[in-house]
């Protein structure tokens, strides 16, 4: 039996605990048991997403791959030499899926029975690539239709156009699935290049939440995980200037009500922000633009937004941005009101009452997130790849001060460096 490093992480605020295991194979494993739950959710991910299109392995020569290949690889990994993973899951009843984002690729399932068998299937197929010219060719039509489905989605287009407007060089401006043309260049060999570079257990994490135990998870992991040699993968990103590429970007689109996103580009290096900063940002955004904010109500009263209005912060290697958006009859005016409100708040500081309310609201929604296995495991894997710890985020919410929030505001939301993206008919 190999000796394992198992760390227990507890939160008195949340009233829960989880275990972090440094597995000898190189994989980081998180186990978050939920008492009384009947199902279990497991997700394994690699720190490899659509933005990782140029890289070097162990200081070798640079490899450059077609746009959309990480997502293509996600589709193809479900097939192994001995069959398709969905067919195997069919025998356990697990509900399985996968997704590719800008900075990671994840494979997941939830189940109520035969958890160990399902975990075995998951760990088996992510370690067993099998790509042939025939299987690669077959996927062109399927992913082609996935791309076209998104081409018809105004909310997807308005978001990507914002990124195109904000970023000059960074590959975050490229669609996650690529284009019908770029995926035509994908070959089995290129898929193996990517797989061998990034699907290394040292570059991956497994998060399990629900009706399970450390012993149960480890009994499968010990059996299934193949030790692998650690490689140094260097991802190459061109220098991205701070200034946005375009302050406005518009696409004519078959919509009856226009949609907009107002994106603020953040000055960020290659290191992710801390859990504290993340907590401060969440409270700040809630104080600025949630339904209880003066801004939201002003926009509503001026008939510039409806309840689709929302905001989000996105972050990955060498990029970070905050987006406000939704449906609007007058996106330009809505954007102007938002920018004016941000400038005014920067000058005067966040109102104390707004801060106190936002802090309570973010605290409540964070506690609520610990209700479901899926949320817990998804947030754990996000945080793992961003080098943040789950419960210290909760602590930071509890301990946040008005000064923290105002300091954070001074660092971000530069109204002279944002992009307004609009789709309208």
């Amino acid at each position: 039996m190999e000796s394992l490093n198992i760390k227990t992480v507890e939160s008195s605020i949340v009233g829960d605990k989880y275990y972090l295991i440094d597995h000898p194979s190189g994989l980081k494993i998180y186990v978050y048991p939920k008492k009384g739950y009947k199902s279990t959710y497991a997700i394994i991910g690699t720190k490899y997403g659509s933005v990782n299109t140029r890289f070097k392995v162990d200081g070798g020569k640079e490899i450059s791959v077609p746009d959309g290949i990480a997502h293509y690889l996600e589709h193809k990994l479900f097939e192994s030499e001995d069959g398709d993973a969905f067919a195997k899951y069919a025998k356990t009843g697990a509900n399985a899926n996968a997704y590719t984002s800008f900075e990671k690729t994840c494979y997941l399932f939830s189940c109520t029975e035969k958890f160990e068998e399902s975990l075995e299937i998951l760990l088996d197929f992510v370690q067993s690539p099998y790509f042939t010219p025939e299987t690669v060719a077959k996927e062109q039509g399927i992913i082609g239709q996935e791309i076209k489905m998104y081409d018809d989605s105004p909310s997807w287009r308005v978001m990507f156009n914002t990124l195109v407007g904000m970023y000059r060089k960074h590959p975050v401006r490229i669609d996650i699935a690529g284009t019908v043309e770029s995926i035509a260049e994908i070959t089995a060999e290129k898929l193996y290049d990517c797989y061998n570079s990034f699907y290394n257990l040292h570059n991956m994490a497994l998060c399990v939440a629900g009706n399970t135990t450390v012993d149960q998870v480890l009994s499968v992991c010990d059996r299934m995980l193949k030790p692998c040699e650690q490689h140094e993968v260097e991802c190459i990103f061109e220098d991205e200037p701070y200034e946005v590429a375009q302050s406005k970007i518009e696409q004519k689109f078959p919509v009856t009500i226009p949609m907009f996103d107002l994106g603020f580009k953040e000055n960020i290096g290659s290191e992710p922000i801390s859990a504290e900063k993340c907590a401060h940002t969440d409270i700040l955004l809630c104080a600025l633009a949630s339904q209880s904010s003066p801004l939201y109500n002003k926009l509503l009263d001026m008939e510039l937004i409806n309840t689709t209005f929302d905001f989000e912060r996105m972050e990955g290697p060498n990029y970070a941005a905050i987006l406000f958006g939704g449906e609007s009859r007058d996106p330009e005016k809505a954007a102007q009101v938002i920018k004016e409100y941000i400038d005014k708040t920067k000058a005067e500081g966040v109102n104390k009452a707004d801060f106190e309310l936002a802090k309570r609201a973010v605290y409540g929604s964070t506690i609520t997130d610990f209700n479901t296995n899926e949320n817990i495991a998804n947030v754990m894997i996000d945080m793992h790849f961003q080098d943040r710890e789950l419960f210290s985020y909760v602590d930071a919410i509890r301990n946040a001060t008005l000064d923290n929030i105002n300091k954070r505001l001074s660092e971000i939301l530069d109204t002279n460096n944002c992009t307004l993206s609009i789709v309208r008919g």
């Binding site: 605020i13 009947k38 199902s39 969905f86 009843g93 399927i142 081409d151 309310l357 609201a361 409540g364």
Partner: protein, 431 residues
């Protein structure tokens, strides 16, 4: 059973039941009010606007800002309203959820406040002189008009809407609950208030309280309020068109890149009939999973699409199959889907397909109740169906279904409508 979980149901007024689901696994409590009335074209929009108006403000918190700030002070408590179909009933849902008292930072009872607030949403609307506050009404009307326009923005949802309007053009089920732009424009604050009074008086109402607290106080608050209303409950029935007589074909041309194909079948059974379970299992074998016949044959083998799925609305007796395809592949995909349906009818089904569909349904039932919202809707579904199965019992029922029963269910299917939303360009591109 050692497990400390129970469901109780009590009548608190004519046509009003208070249901308690005791569950101490969650960090939040929830209360849901579900009110049902007949779908009628001329009142649908009024009820949908009520779903927004009632949660926009209340008598005690007379602006959206005041109500939102009250909710945030209670740790981001959520109160929301929505409207949906259950068979040919238009449901009005008002729901609240908030963190359990154990997590409150100042020792206040979030749970009691939640019950009072939700009760206020229903019984203390922001009404003056026999109508909703004009500003609120104007705001809600604008938002409903936006929502009607936005139905075109999402093309998959738009195709579904157009499909349903086509297939059920002569049935209440085909009514768009948001109404039309004209019907919304014609609404007045007074009309909507009258609709509100009608609903409180006549709608069959289910209140579901999911929590780990004692619910006597909450029950009392609702009971006292309903006692003030002179109830005259209306019963509604859903028309089930058992078989399609011929196939209606409808094509809409819009500026879209991908074409949407929708097939609608009559299932010759609906709740509370017993064979609904076999129909659901049949539909799962056909296209309910990533190992179903449609997924394996239409997507994986023929690479025609990214999604091709089937679903049943057993409250109405309709099965739909939907897919997104190239314009040039519409006919090919339709033929491929119909071939799989024929195979089901002819019993070309393996034991593995049946077994995996059963496992998948069992997994879905049981997993859903690990969510507090899922537990609540599980019980609401049981109540509306007039049954009281646990997820495990329902899984058992699926498990007992035989291949013969699945084939019999498939043989009940008749194709009613083929709907296509497509682009005008030659290769499916819009201009």
């Amino acid at each position: 059973m050692a497990e400390k979980k129970r469901f109780t149901r009590e009548k608190i007024a004519p046509g009003v039941h208070f249901n308690t689901i005791f569950d101490d696994r969650f960090k939040t409590s929830r209360i849901l009010i579900a009110m049902s009335s007949d779908i009628e074209e001329d009142k649908a929009a009024a009820i949908t606007s009520l779903a927004g108006l009632l949660v926009h403000s209340t008598g005690k918190y007379p602006t959206f800002l005041e109500l939102s700030r009250k909710l945030d002070s209670l740790y981001g408590m959520n109160i929301s309203g929505s409207s949906g179909k259950h068979g040919e009933n238009q449901m009005l849902y008002l729901s609240a959820s908030g963190i359990n008292d154990r997590y409150s930072l100042d020792g206040e009872s979030v749970y009691e406040e939640m019950a009072k607030l939700l009760c206020g949403v229903l019984f203390d609307p922001n009404v003056r002189d026999g109508e909703f506050a004009p500003d609120d009404f104007k705001q809600e009307k604008r938002q409903l008009l936006d929502a009607i326009d936005a139905q075109f923005n999402d093309k998959r949802a738009y195709a579904k809407k157009r499909f349903l309007e086509t297939m059920c053009s002569e049935e209440k089920y085909g009514v768009n609950l948001c109404g039309t732009k004209e019907s919304v424009e014609a609404l007045t604050s007074k009309m909507v208030y009258e609709q509100y009074r009608e609903l409180v008086k006549t709608a069959k109402t289910e209140i579901l309280c999911l929590c780990s607290n004692d619910t006597e106080n909450v029950k009392r608050i609702f009971t006292e309020n309903f006692e003030k209303v002179e109830r005259d409950v209306k019963e509604n029935e859903t028309l089930v068109v058992r078989c399609a007589e011929d196939v209606t074909e409808k094509t809409d041309v819009e500026d879209v890149v991908q074409s949407k194909l929708m097939l609608g079948f009559r299932t010759d059974c609906a709740e509370p009939e017993e064979d609904v379970d076999a129909m659901k299992l049949m539909c799962t074998v056909l296209g309910g999973t990533a190992h179903s016949k449609l997924f394996n044959n239409v997507r994986e083998k023929q690479s025609l699409c990214y999604y091709c799925v089937s679903g049943v609305d057993s409250t109405k007796g309709i099965m739909t199959v939907e897919s997104g395809v190239e314009k040039e592949n519409i006919e090919k995909t339709k033929a491929a889907i119909l071939k799989e349906v024929e195979d089901m009818k002819n019993g070309v089904i393996t034991e593995e397909e049946i077994e995996s569909a059963k496992l998948s349904l069992a997994n879905a039932c049981i997993t859903s109740t690990d969510l507090s919202s899922g537990t609540q809707s599980w019980y609401l579904t049981q109540i509306l169906k007039g049954t009281c199965y646990t997820p495990e019992e329902q899984a058992q029922r699926y498990s007992a279904i035989t291949k013969d029963e699945i084939v019999r269910a498939a043989k009940k299917l008749t194709l009613d409508t083929v709907y296509v939303l497509t682009g005008s360009g030659e290769d499916g591109e819009g201009e």
